[in-house]
Amino acid sequence: MSRLSTSICIGLVLVGVGLMAILNLSTAAGAPLHVPTYAISLVGKYLSYAILALAVDLVWGYGGILSLGHAAFFALGGYAMGMYLLREIGPRGVYGNALLPDFMVFLNYKALPWYWNGFNHPAFAMAMAVIVPALVALIFGYFAFRSRVSGVYLSIITQALTYALLLAFFRNDMGFGGNNGMTDFKDIFGLPLQADSTRVGLLVATAIALCLCLLVARYVVTSRFGQVLIAVRDSESRTRFLGYRPESYKLFVFVLSAIMAGIGGALYVPQVGIINPGEFSPANSIEAVIWVAVGGRGTLVGAVLGAVLVNAGKTFFTGAFPEFWLFALGFLFILVTLLLPKGVLGLLQKKTGGRV
């Protein structure tokens, strides 16, 4: 059943994105079926969020680890991409400095901080977008799982982690643009970021990345490894007594999930055009959790569905009734946890007799 829903999901994403791409590029603006470029970027943003939701579902739905700091990995990936995009600007910045990004000139930096070296190479930056979140997750997870911090305690310290990163990235001395973050990007891989074709390309790349992540996640949770992981989620002690090492399973899935979140973040930044410390705020991480809860925890496809649904709702509400978005989101949290413990997908499965 979940195989069917995964296939449907991948099919929908690819066909939908493909259609949007064709309609955007092949029709002129104003034509009846034209898809405007802002819609392309908007959907691209949703799909980046969907990758983050997938990452959260992997640890929460299958590992039982409620991470309230997953947006931190997303933002770290985003910052790696942002650093590359800033270096790509080169001498075309406001201050015309070939080496230093604008904010560094503004803040009187004399030389590029050492950790900015290499980010002018796209391949290095892309690698970092994955490696940095993975490393943070590895170190954090290693200590946390080894000492068997679990349940709400783990949730609270993941939240503290992203909060600490939030405070750190707000500091100008960190060399990541402080309060303002990074923006005014111009090119990606030598292609102008504002061009329709680049935008469509990014959307297609995001869709493909999402599908790949979905397949990887599905492979992981249906494998033997995944079975043990679910056992850990349901009864950690019992699994331990059976001779498994729950901490290794949790650590692996935590790092994998951080990698996915980093990919999502790296794809998110060029499409929205800005990354700032606000992405680290604990509220963002909790919102990502609710996407998963809305779609259906522990279903993978539900996470994708939830992320797209909630964010589409957010776009609609913040445009039409900005006052009511937080009310709507708040009630969504309460109603889903109280009435829809299995999310929208659970509801669908009930209605269709478990076929989807």
Partner: protein, 547 residues
């Protein structure tokens, strides 16, 4: 400042001049006014056209002990002093009073004054400084002990050796202990600043300054060079001891700031120590309970401002019980309508209460607007008191005291009342408690209400030091959880110790790392600490823990 420099220098120079004159005329001070006739007339200089002579005359007058000195100097300051040089003898010095004149020397009404012969005494900056200094010298003998003490402090700051005889006389006559001490300190400073006095006297003076122990005393001691051996040794000992004292004060100041921050954390976390610590409910809307308390304070003050402005000083006392009720009732409602369906599902509780916090924030934003609301500080809470090297602001001190009261009350409720007994029974063994006839659902609701109410009271305190905005609670939620987890869940004492530890550590890190980095360091240290001791500093022992 080198003394004896340019006479137009500043007030200090004028003080020097005053004191120089004093030395000459000192014997007069002790004498009765009757003998003043023998002395040179201090008033004569006032008639001069030369500002310097006028200034000197003012200084001389100030120390002459003349009964009319104060009135005359005051008259110059008020531009009421006139000179009539028409007569044959010494020019008349007149104080204008309404349309008539008073002879400044005698205080008697002066008759037959021809308005055409009268010139006012003109004043320039040098004269004004002389007036200021003269008033200072007069103040050493003022009737009011406070004024005398302040005058002595002024001499301490100028520490002019010329002041010594005057000080000796003032000390001999002084009855007030505080003023006397200040004069002795001024005497010691003046003695050390000059070359006079035996080694023994100078060492004694160093001891007095050492006893005074403040920054001024230290910098004065440090400025002394080329002293004889025993004096130099005493100075070296005194400065190093003063440096230690100064360090001690700065440590104490950090501790005070730390305790102050700790009590803020404690207030914010106290309610959570009940709902999370005792009940095990992850209430992410806890910060919003605090916010409700702060807005209750705002409402109370609004009503008082419009209806009974006289009550403003008491507004916080009215706000505290109201905030407890508002947040407490909100808490009971939340427990009855939401939390109770989620017992045993902590992660879902977390999410639902987060949703609730969003709704409450947006609700408050819709009603009160998103900008900060003005909550006033009552008179009795503003200002600061200096205690040794410590600066203690009243609002910080009030919050510390308030935190102590709140915690004491909370502990009294938990340990001393039947409600507290039931609460503890239900959290320790729910089924057994139910079997004993305790209505567990009600106890759950009341416990949650109590925790929320305490959060509301914290909001009253936080409204005094933080911006009252819909985001008020957000800033405290992570800190509060950290405090409770660090202290050990379910342990009120642990929460107290943990809040104070975090507050003090934070304040000690700040000078080295800066406020933000200090906070980051504390957060990371906490994350590491939880790895080592997942149940906090003071974990509960026993079977109840394992649930």
């Amino acid at each position: 400042m080198g003394w004896g420099s340019d006479p137009e220098g500043d007030v200090m120079v004028s003080i020097h001049r005053l004191l120089a004159v004093l030395l000459v005329s000192l014997p007069l001070l002790a004498t009765s006014p009757a003998r003043a006739d023998d002395a040179p007339d201090p008033f004569i200089g006032l008639a001069s056209q030369n500002f310097d002579i006028v200034a000197n005359a003012i200084s001389a007058l100030a120390v002459s002990g003349h009964p009319q000195a104060a009135a005359t100097i005051a008259a110059i300051e008020a531009d009421n002093l006139y000179v009539d040089a028409a007569g044959d003898g010494a020019p008349l010095i007149l104080i204008k009073q309404g349309d008539s004149y008073i002879d400044a020397r005698t205080g008697q009404k002066a008759s037959d004054i021809n308005e055409d012969d009268v010139d006012s005494v003109r004043v320039n900056n040098a004269v004004r400084r002389a007036i200021e200094a003269a008033k200072g010298g007069l103040d050493l003998f003022a009737a009011d002990a406070d004024t005398r003490q302040k005058a002595a402090e002024k001499v301490f700051t100028s520490h002019d050796p010329a002041a010594l005889p005057l000080l000796a006389r003032a000390i001999a006559a002084e009855k007030d202990a505080g003023a006397k001490r200040a004069m002795q300190q001024a005497q010691a400073a003046s003695l050390l600043a000059g070359d006079g006095g035996s080694d023994a006297e100078r060492v004694a003076a160093v001891a007095i300054l050492r006893l005074r122990g403040d920054v001024e005393a230290k910098s004065l001691l440090q400025s002394l060079h080329d002293q004889s051996k025993p004096v130099a040794a005493a100075i070296a000992a005194a400065t190093s001891s003063l440096a230690r004292i100064e360090q001690l004060w700065s440590v104490l100041q950090s501790v005070f700031y730390g305790i102050s921050l700790g009590s803020v954390l404690l207030l914010a976390a106290a309610g959570l120590a009940i709902t999370f610590g005792v009940m095990g409910v992850i209430n992410m809307a806890h910060g919003e309970m605090v916010m409700l308390g702060a807005y209750t304070t705002f409402m109370v003050q609004e009503v008082i401002r419009t209806h009974a402005p006289g009550l403003f000083g008491a507004s916080l006392f009215i706000a505290v019980p109201l905030a407890f009720l508002v947040s407490g009732i909100a808490g009971i409602l939340i427990e009855r309508c939401m939390i109770r369906f989620l017992y045993g599902r902590p992660l879902e509780t977390l999410l639902a209460s987060w949703g609730l916090s969003l709704i409450l924030q947006q609700g408050v934003r819709s009603i009160f607007g998103s900008s900060n609301r003005e909550v006033g500080t009552p008179e009795w809470m503003s200002g600061a008191v200096q205690w040794g090297g410590l600066v203690i602001t009243w609002n910080r001190l009030t919050i510390i005291v308030f935190a102590v009261i709140v915690i004491a009350a909370l502990m009294a409720v938990m340990r001393g009342t039947s409600l507290g007994l039931r609460m503890r029974a239900v959290t320790q063994n729910r089924r057994m408690a139910a079997a004993m006839g305790i209505r567990t659902p009600w106890i759950d609701a009341l416990t949650f209400g109590l925790g929320s109410g305490v959060a509301g009271m914290a909001g009253v305190a936080l409204s005094q030091i933080d911006n009252v905005s819909p985001n008020l609670g957000q800033g405290y939620i992570i800190d509060s959880f950290m405090v409770v987890v660090f202290g050990g869940v379910g342990n009120l004492w642990g929460t107290v110790v943990s809040a104070m530890t975090l507050g003090i550590v934070n304040k000690f890190l700040e000078p080295f790392a800066g406020a933000v980095l200090g906070k980051i360091v504390v957060l990371i240290a906490l994350i590491l600490f939880i790895q080592r001791k997942p149940r906090g500093m003071f974990p509960l022992k026993g079977r109840a823990v394992e649930q």
